[in-house]
Subunit: 372 residues, 2 copies
């Protein structure tokens, strides 16, 4: 066959729902020579990653490490390890990712009770309390913290209290929230959590940082049935990421290098500083959007700092605007999904990409394209 | 917390069972700036990857692409998509990876008939023929082509004919064989195959190139039950890797860059040239080992070119030798697993690492350490 030429990506500003822009030092880490996945220097680095991930997630959970897949693999990791066939679970559904979690949980044999809110709004403690009255023995209550598909941030603390009062575990999707706004795993008593590397952590996509509380680990280790996924079975993974270092699968070396550097950057900046930066740039974007007649359409008071759901004005061709931004300005923003298709743009300001310069760039480009 | 310093890996020669050394141009590709996973330039690159992967696997299968996980995720991909609960399957077991596949298949609800050979030897067509007499309706026959844990290469063609004559699909693990010795998916009538990036393709670990024949796709699309893994469901993945480009999960952008460049390098060298290089360096290693009283212990006539199972002489501390190689020579080789633990070293000459210089380096170091 005709061998294609070397791939040469254009210089995009990644202001969509992820992947976000990656720092030069993370890209440099990705390009370091490989070592073996059982090499003592790699093992030491794995320990550093576990410690840094705990610091970023604000948890003391021993079982805190990155799963070798993207955020959706992290979702599946939590479900396959906690669910046994016939278990009842309660899942908040207010966007793509809650919908997806129901599908994943059902494939694990769970009886799923959906708690639904309109896309763009949050799941409330009252809704969860109602659901808990109807479900006799819930294994877990699950919430998507930051719904990337809608731009809404659901508060976790009250829901977690309700879940535990009913004897359930609390499961949290923090793919888009982690490192972009407060995520307090231990304070909120979250038992199982997964994230992704390609949002506010600003590493390339490919790993899913997860954490299980001792309570969740007890459920996973004392199950009656085998975990249906060998690849994601925490009973096997814990022997590799724990002290025994038993070979399970070959860890993605270069991605692990990248995550190590990305976590370092988060901690060197400081979590609070990083959250504040995301908040400030979100507010600047919101103000600038208002000046050109655009508004963020997710529920007031619960709008994400890292992902802005912007209403497409009547009469504007949303796809044409996105194409224009990409082709003429090298700016990627996201489209709406599901019921929001054609109705919103999704402007991400995640991790490295949450800068004043990016806010100005996307506002300037939109102003020209929309002739405002 | 005290933030750890920048990770700085030592310059290893990776002559173990994988990961193997990665070419500088592949590391460079890994460090390119990211684009979005639905960006037209990324989509074009995905098409190039599919075409190159077909060329390397010698197949015309439309459904040929990399799964977003390591080789073990590829194994699970094949099993979850083809197996429905209660299905009968036949699996050749002559090492770690056949053993693993039985576990994976059982977790999918399969009734597994194991065809066992001693570790280090191959699975024969006669053994498969015997098993086929006992299994009424086998869904597939599966073989590990190159058993990385033992260094034995099982011929596929006859076994595939027997499988098809019995109405079964043929499933092949070519994690270690692909691009290091002949792998002819279409000529051998293989229906489902998975590989890994970190062996003879010489990209970092993290993706699993897979391919399904139209026959296997028919089984996957016409199943009565949902695929138990959402993440690995080919019915969903085909919509992203196919013409529709429907969002499924966020593709691991940088790993995909790396695989693109690694596949380019394989095709620019030429498959036959690459196989020949692996053969020549294996023969040179074998000759040099014999000169210092060491021998390859896997079955004569079926020894892998890319992974050499070397018997540990009586009285030699195998772990001490490996530590010595790593610490004083920066050379990684592998240990034996399972029944071969302590009995063999595994010297990989995979992809970029299959060079005369590496053969000389490992022989020279072993000569000094063993005082030969």
């Amino acid at each position: 066959m005709q061998v294609p030429p070397v791939f040469n990506p254009p210089p995009r500003r990644l202001l969509g729902p992820g992947p976000s822009d990656v720092a030069p030092s993370v890209l440099e880490a990705m390009s370091l020579p490989l070592v073996g996945h059982l090499d003592p220097v790699f093992v030491k680095m794995m320990e550093e990653i576990k410690a840094m991930q705990r610091a970023v997630m604000l948890t003391k959970n021993e079982m805190t490490f990155p799963v070798s897949g993207t955020g959706s693999a992290g979702m599946e990791f939590c479900c396959v390890n906690l669910i046994e066939p016939g278990d009842e679970v309660i899942i908040g559904v207010n966007g793509v990712f809650g919908t997806r979690m129901c599908d994943v949980a059902e494939r694990c044999g769970a009886k799923v009770t959906k708690v639904e809110s309109a896309w763009g709004t949050i799941i409330t403690p009252e809704q969860i309390a109602d659901a808990l009255k109807k479900v006799s023995k819930p294994k877990f209550v699950a919430i998507v913290h930051a719904e990337t598909s809608t731009g809404a941030l659901t508060p976790v603390e009250e829901i977690s209290k309700l879940a535990h009062a009913a004897g359930a575990l609390m499961l949290l999707d923090c793919v888009t929230s982690l490192a972009g706004c407060p995520v307090r795993i231990d304070d909120w008593n979250v038992d199982a959590v997964y994230s992704g590397t390609q949002k506010c952590l600003s590493a390339p996509p490919g790993l899913s940082p997860v954490s299980l509380s001792p309570r969740a680990m007890e459920v996973a280790t004392k199950r009656k049935t085998k975990v249906q996924s060998w690849y994601l079975d925490v009973n096997l993974l814990s022997a590799y990421w724990g002290q025994e270092r038993v070979y399970h699968h070959t860890a993605p070396i270069s991605m692990t290098y990248g995550l190590h550097e990305a976590l370092r950057r988060v901690l060197l900046e400081g979590l609070e500083n990083r959250w504040h930066r995301h908040e400030q740039n979100h507010l600047a974007l919101k103000k600038g959007l208002a000046e050109i007649g655009l508004e963020i359409v997710s529920q007031a008071g619960h709008q994400l700092w890292q992902l802005n759901a912007v209403g497409v004005p009547a009469g504007v061709d949303e796809l044409a605007v996105r194409k224009h931004l990409l082709t003429d300005y090298n700016i990627e923003i996201g489209a709406g999904l599901g019921p929001l298709k054609g109705k919103i743009w999704r402007i991400g300001l995640m991790g490295e990409a949450s800068t004043k310069e990016n806010v100005d760039a996307v506002l300037g480009a939109l102003r020209k394209i929309l002739k405002k």
